[in-house]
Symmetry: D2
Subunit: 284 residues, 4 copies
């Protein structure tokens, strides 16, 4: 149910991250190896930061693998921080407003996974969203609701705490409806400076997520690889499943953890949802 990629580092042409590597995200749209579904053909999205005030977002309901416009935009857009997402729809319609990443001001948000039996608890969750944010909801995806819940619960101030509260609420409302595993997934969110990533599921069997190793280490491992000389020192990718063909280039994120992408290997922290009654405590 979806695969995604996040990049942060010196500006690069998006196509170098999205198309050039073997088993790229575009290839994963057709032939995912580690995903819950092989095919992620129900649309895609690209969100990128540049010199403008808000990030750009390009979303389409076509499969990514043959989309000529995505290829063009990736070949002509440079960005220091971007998200790409290929979708396998489960339940909600194939329409642009259900494609990730979602955007609010300078924030982007994307997700691989689901809210269990979303229809049963959607109304309660939507009611928990700040009424001033409510009109911004344009689609019907569970992820969009999770994003606005997180914004309501402080995403812009403290992303890990806000997401812990949002997922805590999802779990609480889900359990009230008898849902065994209310949340599943990996999440990325960014504000144009940092990228926060999360891996968590109620069941404890979360969708896969990998960090690229730091570029210095990779260059030592593969001194012959020209591409590693071209990449900036602080470049970092976070992906649902490894791209490229370099063994040892990727570190799997542990279950129930979060981190911030930046220079050096990420300092991973344990992640635990905050139940609504404990909403004062924060994980960070």
């Amino acid at each position: 149910m979806c695969r995604w990629l996040a990049y942060t580092g010196a500006p690069v042409l998006i196509e170098h991250a999205l198309y050039t590597p073997s088993h790229s995200l575009i290839d994963q749209s057709l032939h995912s190896r580690l995903g819950a579904e092989t095919t992620n053909g129900d649309g895609f999205g690209l969100g990128w930061y540049d010199a403008e005030e808000t990030p750009g977002v390009f979303r389409s309901i076509e499969p990514a693998w043959n989309d000529q416009n995505l290829r063009e935009i990736a070949a002509h857009t440079r960005s220091y921080l971007f998200f790409a997402h290929v979708r396998a729809a489960i339940g909600s319609a194939v329409q642009q407003t259900n494609c990730h990443p979602f955007r609010h001001g300078r924030w982007l948000f994307m997700h691989n996974g689901f809210i269990g039996e979303f229809d049963a608890i959607k109304r309660d969750l939507v009611l928990a969203i700040d009424p001033s944010l409510y009109p911004e909801i344009k689609g019907q995806a569970d992820t969009e609701v999770l994003f606005y819940l997180s914004l309501t619960l402080g995403l812009e101030d403290n992303p890990p705490a806000a997401l812990a509260r949002a997922i805590g609420l999802v779990e609480e409302y889900g359990r009230r409806q008898g849902v065994k595993y209310p949340f599943q997934g990996t999440v990325a969110t960014a504000n144009g400076d940092d990228v926060w990533v999360f891996r968590y599921s109620t069941e404890g069997r979360s969708r896969s997520l990998f960090f690229s190793r730091d570029v210095h280490t990779l260059r030592e491992l593969y001194p012959q690889r020209a591409i590693l000389q071209d990449i900036s020192d602080e470049a970092r990718m976070i992906v649902s499943e490894p791209v490229g063909d370099l063994p040892g280039a990727w570190i799997e994120m542990p279950e129930s953890s979060w981190g911030v992408a930046g220079p050096g290997d990420p300092q991973l922290q344990p992640f635990a949802p905050i139940a609504p009654t404990n909403a004062v405590a924060v994980p960070a």
Copy 2:
């Protein structure tokens, strides 16, 4: 902001109603004369009843005028009751889930007009929808919310009363937010047997709506017209603006009225919204 057409009578090929007449609905998608907008190119929809349990619905985000699939389906589908709608989007996204007609079980619903400052009152309106219906809302159009409000307020038992209550609620919630003219439009709804049509706006300047005269009268007026010999006696069309080229063939619905399409000239009734506190009274 949209144009629509409803047909009831002996089964006909949909193309005869949709494409054949001069200034057809398809022509109105490009060159509306009486609409608030000349162009209604933000998608379209077709809903038709046949021998199956629920009506079929075909919706697209392409403009109707050049849509090859609509042409094919219209040329191969016979129906005794169908709705067609061409959309001019105002505010909500161009996506299939925002295209009319909307469907619930055997019911179809379409609208030309708007809920004033919908964003400001959408949340309140959505909260008034029966929670068991809530998960069926797939898009973000004001009309879809009006449909589910009407269903909540008894559409399946008494369409005029339910719509009076629903529009009454829209007006009440709108006025609380300072909206001067909360409702505008013409509405059609059907259950596979009858078609109910409504023309009303808070402002008292409603979108145009016309009934075709009964076929006997038309044959007397135009004895030479072969097409009128082919049409069944009880055939009736209701349209946002007249199609065809026969003067005298159409009767304008008066302001603030409703009617049921059937044999003979429709018995038009006055329409008045029922404010929430008066919700016991019904107009029929």
Copy 3:
């Protein structure tokens, strides 16, 4: 590279053939087992005969598996002869004019396979098409060119001979350009009465193709299966790969053969292309 299905028999709702069986064609659009590609997500098409003069054609660039309009049309259209096709594009654009089936008058045509190195010989092949047919070519697919070549070479009079000549021309022109295996595939064509099917490849390793056994035999094999009591005696399906879960229900078409679908097990004939210089001889 595509999967297809053809049905002939008493009129049925298309959905019963397209969606109801296990491992249906719609499932094959996402999870093909025998195809050259697992995913056939680059659009689809449906062509059906009814009481109208020409068959209807509905084509879309969306993947079939989540297409709501296909589901609706299949659930509301009855036909005694229809083609359905899910596409995996190889080379030509994902656009409706490249989706199968193609239509000319009462004829439909669809294909799973390819013309080898089509770009190298496309111009020569197009020049061999009757100039009066040339303006009807709307897309850029190899199959559309093969269809108009076949029409030029007599498809409407003798489909097996015309296809043998058309493929003979493809092989001749291909070989002149050094193409080792100029043709690959299975083809179906129909005129509203009969369905002709072909399995052939220059290489002798053709895409898979199966006939359903005659309904009498199936009923003897599976007396408990209610669905087999509902199907008409003369019903027949031809499919790229078996649908449903009844062992013994399908007969594989041999390499280099053709047949006409009708009552009784099809009389299969050997198929061999006719080289341009031998164009007088016909295989039937």
Copy 4:
């Protein structure tokens, strides 16, 4: 039948040219004043030059006026030379491969107008295209054929001579088929350095075309207008119909003329097609 815009000057955000002015090209997609059609809703295209080797091209079959992706890309892409085109289809399908601008290597090409009775002469024109270019033809638009004819006849060496020969061929082949007015339109082509524009029709009643006056002159005319202070000295726009609200800002190109956009008012030259037998002479 279409409206277009070309910009050359210091790099600007495309949205400033495409969305910001009153009666912008986006507005013209819905409400053209001078075009043959009011509505240009059958898709659009954007082609832009940047630091990459070939220009980027983004094309869509949605109407431009509500396309969210066009808005995003225009708001995040800077270019020193770009083309934008909104389409009103006449005859050929609404598909991306029929949308302007067309691209070959570093060249872009767009057109407002048509080849008269194209179906009757298309085959002859296509045969005149260099066979090595033939496989690049992806759609079925008359303009794409004109582009590849022009490339065949020397566009990359001498655009005015090549276009004169190409249109000469169109006129010759058209007349042989009894077409009274074989060519109509305005054309723009660019190689990343210069923009050539043409206005010509066999009939002598060509689609409208306007040059912006040079920026110095505009600043003198409108010293208060902040936007004119922000624009680079050498900025120039060429448009099907004037955008913005500054009287005197636009100069109409005369009938049967061509020019190169650059600093200073353009040196316009007379344009006359070169009949095939005179193909040695060049207009420049």
